[in-house]
Point group: C2
Chain length 358, copies 2
DNA sequence: CTGAAAGCGCTAACAG
DNA sequence: CTGTTAGCGCTTTCAG
């Protein structure tokens, strides 16, 4: 393990180039307003000395850090078990890289870590925070508000402006959970299915609630309508999907279609259906949500599901934060076109992907 | 999005407590050498003002950052497609949290990003770096060496001390790829299989090479020995596994066992075997590597595989770095017991997990 | 045990 | 256009 060596300072570069520190600083930061030959001399000195600015010193005066925190609560390990999070992280990373900003990852695993995160955020190391707020009782959003750091949420936070209960100025990015669910269920209905069940996600997360609402929406349109016995609570995991599916089969053996809250849940459901001798999609059609490639494409049969662009969500979160920081200057359009903006939330569209399971 | 507010300074706290800045500083940093009543007054002032030290100012003088960089090269998206990386990250995060250190994630996606990463590392924002060096031609290790930052590698780097080609002082953590592979292949041989094939990983990664070596080791013991026609190159992905398995079946229809370089490869192989009407394990026994829960437990049949403790690898990398930084003080023992240390590499043990596929 | 003073390395007015 | 002059907020000798 190499020891860190002491790096040359502005002073040293200035001396070598025979100019003042101020001039070197100017050249290093864009270099406008410095005559070409001088600038050239400075650049050579920088090069020869291998000078790299000390960020701590710079931040101290500029109050900028070129870094944003990504806060992830992972009370259960689910966050890490599916590629969802990794994809968002990648989107965030890409966008930040474009703006020359660093990604500081703050993992929390319980109350103990919350204090640490709050302290860090308040300590002014970062220009802003991207927060994945998962659960209803999560104290993190409050702590972060108190830290007084510009923040964008991933996923609609509980009690957001749209539902009327939320605090002002909450910015978030989410996909159209409700619309996507509606589309999936309508597709199942369009197949002629009349007993369409729903295996929900963990209902302390808004995504699960919104998908359930979408399911209800679609069923409101049809004669038979909504039957509460066809709704079983899961938890976004394969195991939860199995459990829920078993319960559903026991309760309503006549079910002919299942909309699972995500692909992992669908995976569990498929397994139980196979065990029970039900054919998919002949006896029971199955649809999922997320379109996680490694899951949805490789189930047997391949899964019909609702696709959301996870990486784009991450990218958009970062962009929104950065735009807010720069006071709305350098606004650009998202690569996905123009997403719908409702209140302070940005909702990305979803697409139904038809495969063999429904 | 809340605007950041200006935080109180040491000065303010000092004024409020009626002491000097120096005294406040002492109290904030452990507080030894300050008389109790005074210290108490300071603590109250800190509390009332909600004072949090400005890290930039502090770093400027202490030259410590309480942050380490995690550098991940992801030229292909594989890094993110499997949970491997997420698990290591989690291990790293846990260990860093214990030491009150932050995790700065540096994602790179090509040459363009390399310069950015090198600059960042050289800029002295972090106390050290954890680097996942994946590919043979990756220029990253070199750049990082030049940055002069203490570094620990994840996975044996190319040309490490053990092979004699590596630079001095390279520290890394890896699992016992070779030994694990050997165990898996011996297990297949123990089942009475005589035509044991190997679907390799991407051979520009040391893990793939080491597993191939383990395969050869095991075969060196038996009469028939090593048959090069039974080795097909894959790339650690399911698609690569399918491709390799198809080629293998074409070339050696008499194969009766397959050792896949990882679980994802095994997944692809299983699919092709099923298509071809081969029964697993009756006709062909299959073993994988990694024991990724969401994959290995849920294949059909469940996969016999070599387990490595990925999270522990991450944790250990962080610990090694931190220990090195503190000059070897506060040394603790790893939770996994005492891993083997060869040269500057720490090799974690692997375990064969028997399931139905072999 | 406490305070005064001197910077850490950099940027940002302000003069020239 | 370039240099001079102040700090940013903190830690750390060094006196008292």
């Amino acid at each position: 393990m190499t020891e860190a060596v002491s790096r040359p300072t502005l002073e040293a570069v200035a001396a070598r180039a025979g100019v003042s520190r101020a001039t070197v600083s100017r050249v290093v930061n864009g270099g406008d307003g410095v005559r070409a030959p001088l600038a050239e001399r400075v650049r050579r000195a920088v090069e020869e000395l291998g000078y790299v600015p000390n960020q701590a010193a710079r931040s101290l005066v500029t109050r900028r850090h070129d870094a944003v925190a990504v806060v992830v609560a992972e009370p259960e390990s689910r966050v890490f078990a599916d590629p969802f999070f990794a994809l968002q992280l990648r989107g965030i990373g890409k966008e930040l890289a474009v703006h020359d900003s660093q990604l500081v990852l703050l993992l929390t695993e319980g109350r103990a870590d919350h204090a640490r995160v709050a302290r860090y955020l308040a300590g002014g190391h970062v220009d802003g925070a991207l927060v994945f707020s998962l659960h209803l009782d999560d104290p993190l959003p409050g702590l972060i508000r108190d830290a007084g750091v510009p923040t964008v949420f991933g996923g609609r936070p509980h009690g957001d402006p749209d539902t009327g209960a939320g605090g002002p100025g909450v910015v978030y990015v989410d996909c159209d959970n409700r619309g996507g669910a509606r589309a999936a269920v309508r597709h199942l209905l369009g197949l002629g299915r009349r007993r369409v069940a729903h295996l929900t996600g963990a209902l302390d997360q808004t995504s699960a609630v919104d998908r359930l609402d979408g399911y209800r929406d679609a069923l409101a349109d049809v004669p038979g309508g909504y039957d509460p016995r066809l709704v079983v609570e899961g938890d976004f995991t394969p195991a939860g999907g199995e459990r829920a599916m078993r319960e559903l089969l026991g309760r309503c053996p006549d079910v002919d279609a299942v909309f699972a809250a995500n692909d992992l849940t669908a995976l569990g459901a498929l397994r139980v259906l196979r065990e029970s001798g039900k054919r998919v999609p002949e006896d029971v059609a199955v649809a999922g949500f997320d379109d996680m490639a490694p899951v949805a494409e490789q189930t047997d049969p391949p899964l019909t599901t609702v696709r959301q662009d996870i990486e784009e969500m991450g990218r958009l979160m970062a962009r929104l934060l950065l735009e807010g920081l720069s006071g709305g200057r350098d606004r650009e359009r998202t690569t996905a076109g123009a997403p719908a903006v409702r209140g302070k939330g940005v909702i990305l569209p979803t697409t139904l992907i038809r495969r063999a399971s429904a």
